[in-house]
Amino acid sequence: MKDEKLKDRRLVYYKDDFDQIEKLLDEYVKLSNARCVFLIDKEGHLVTQRGISQTFNAATLSALVAGAFAATKEMARLLGETEFSVMFHQGRKDNIHLSLVGDRAINATVFDEKTTVGMVNLYSKELTAKLAKIFEIAAKKITSEPAFETGYGDSVKDRLDDMFKE
């Protein structure tokens, strides 16, 4: 039981699903004319990013997006909703559009004046539906991905030791 729970909390993305996800995101960036898109776990881990995004610190953005989403969940609760599925932050030049994908991820789209929030909203709805489906199927299937190599954990510990030599 304990182990099952642990496994459930582990978000695993297999290679073939991942390829499919990236393909969908690429199409989405093209269709919506957005600058870039980030797919982020609800726990704040970045899954992947597509489009032109060199200037962003993706890890921090992911942590903040997940945090912001969780915070608005509290807001939703006060209004009697379970959660808000879409959030939008407008800037002077760049904007960010956040939408929930199934119950495990968030799709964060950064866009500028080349497109509109309406377009982004429209295409992101399609995208999230498709992504949610992939997640749903992925959760059920078994694949033969190579497992962690033996001694992986110990190697990471060695690396940490190297990094923090006192």
């Binding site: 582990r10 978000l11 993305y13 991942f18 915070a71 033969s144 497992a147 962690f148 033996t150 954990g153």
Partner: protein, 411 residues
């Protein structure tokens, strides 16, 4: 935790918890100073005017590639003040490990206990138990004159007997030791609980020596199949598993050494395996749980009881996952053959003349037994031969479409 096979990346989340002003943010600042430039991201802090954490502090650390997986740790702190309860809860979401930064000062004992209770409550809402999680307590501010003796703190706060580290975060003392300890607890989970990794520690005590020889700093690649690479340590592991699967003796060596020719032969079979998986992906072939079960049951039929099978696996130092991988491979082979080779059944239709012919050409093998006595055996022999031919044909076809490079010097 996120395990991303697409990017070959593992990302773990560690959360620093504790009462207000106990030194959580200071811990993160020290880590940030000590991590080499190339491995760290920015330390992000959402602080109020009074310099107290409002939302959370966040520091990503990138350990780079470890055994083929890019490994990242994300460090979070929660705001300590009581009134940020909901923020604390959301930061805890998905935490792989918790570091509790306790304030050692005598007058803070109550706040420590309150914060710890708060932590338990919040974990409880996610259906988690502190005693089941990777959890470390840091006794911070050991340098202050009013710090309680550690025995006293242990008695009052550490009711779980969690591992602890004394620290003076302000000078950096004990900070890295705490982080390393928490990280290794998280990693130990990964070693033992990852579904694909060796899970039979208890049954196979001699597992350790079977590991790959100490890996070089940079992973050597033994072969490339199209875009995929086979690392040397993966290859070594594959060889050991294949040896154990096919061993004719009941007991197996801890670490079997292979000659160059054997290695080359094994690499060829691993390349075939890789080609299969790539092809299966292209054809969107998925192996269902049921199909896998059928294969595993087939294997289990060779044994009278489950205990007998477990004992066999333990002797061979094999895990159920090794079997599962083999079974998956077999199912995929079956499915691809059906797709690639039309009128498959026809190829397995065997005429009486063929059987006779085979019997006479291989008569030595049957040691003078009469045709009727060995007919079934003969048919099975022909089928096996056909199967081998079909497999050969299939792999040849796959190889024609792929680019394969072998780095013999790395074998």
């Amino acid at each position: 935790m996120q395990i991303n096979y697409g990017k070959r990346e593992v990302s773990c989340k560690l959360v620093y918890y504790g009462p207000g002003m106990s030194g959580k943010t200071t811990n993160l600042e020290v880590v940030h100073q000590r991590v080499p430039e190339k491995s760290k991201g920015d330390l992000t802090s959402i602080a109020t005017e009074g310099d107290r954490t409002l939302f959370f502090d966040f520091l990503p650390i990138d350990l780079g590639q470890v055994r083929g997986m890019t490994t990242k740790f994300q460090l979070y702190t929660v705001p300590g003040q009581i009134y940020y309860a909901s923020t604390r809860k959301l930061v805890l979401q998905g935490a792989d490990g918790v570091i509790f930064v306790a304030d050692s000062q005598a007058e803070k004992i109550k706040e420590n206990i309150e914060s710890l209770t708060d932590l338990q409550q919040n974990l409880d809402e996610y259906g988690l138990k502190l005693e089941e999680m990777p959890f470390v307590i840091q006794w911070n501010k050991r340098d202050l004159p009013n710090a309680l003796p550690i025995e006293e703190l242990e008695k009052q706060i550490n009711t779980f007997r969690a591992p602890t580290v004394p620290a003076v975060a302000a000078t950096g003392e004990g900070v890295l030791a705490t982080l390393k300890l928490a990280a290794s607890l998280v990693l130990d989970r990964l070693n033992t609980k990852e579904p694909g990794a060796a899970t039979k520690k208890a049954a196979a005590p001699a597992e350790k020596p079977a590991e790959a020889p100490p890996a070089e700093k940079k992973e050597a690649v033994v072969a490339k199949i199209n875009a995929d690479q086979i690392s040397r340590s993966y290859f070594t592991q594959y060889c050991q598993v294949q040896y154990r699967l096919g061993a004719r003796t009941e007991e197996v060596d801890d670490f079997k050494k292979f000659s160059m020719d054997e290695k080359k032969r094994l690499l060829e079979s691993l390349i075939n395996h890789g080609l299969l998986l790539q092809d299966a992906k292209k054809r969107s072939i998925v192996v269902s749980k049921e199909e896998l079960e059928v294969q595993l049951k087939e294997f289990a039929r060779r044994f009278k009881t489950k205990e007998e099978m477990d004992a066999h696996l333990a002797h061979r130092k094999l895990s159920l996952d090794n079997l599962r991988n083999e079974a998956t491979k077999n199912v995929i082979i079956g499915k691809i053959i059906q797709k690639v080779i039309p009128n498959l059944n026809e190829k397995f239709r065997i005429t009486e003349t063929e059987v006779k012919e085979y019997y006479f050409t291989n008569s030595a093998k049957y040691g003078g037994k009469s045709f009727d006595a060995v007919k079934a055996e003969v048919i099975a022999g022909i089928k096996n031969q056909r199967k081998r031919e079909l497999l050969d044909e299939m792999f040849k076809a796959l190889r024609r479409e792929s680019s394969i490079t072998i780095f013999e010097e790395n074998l």
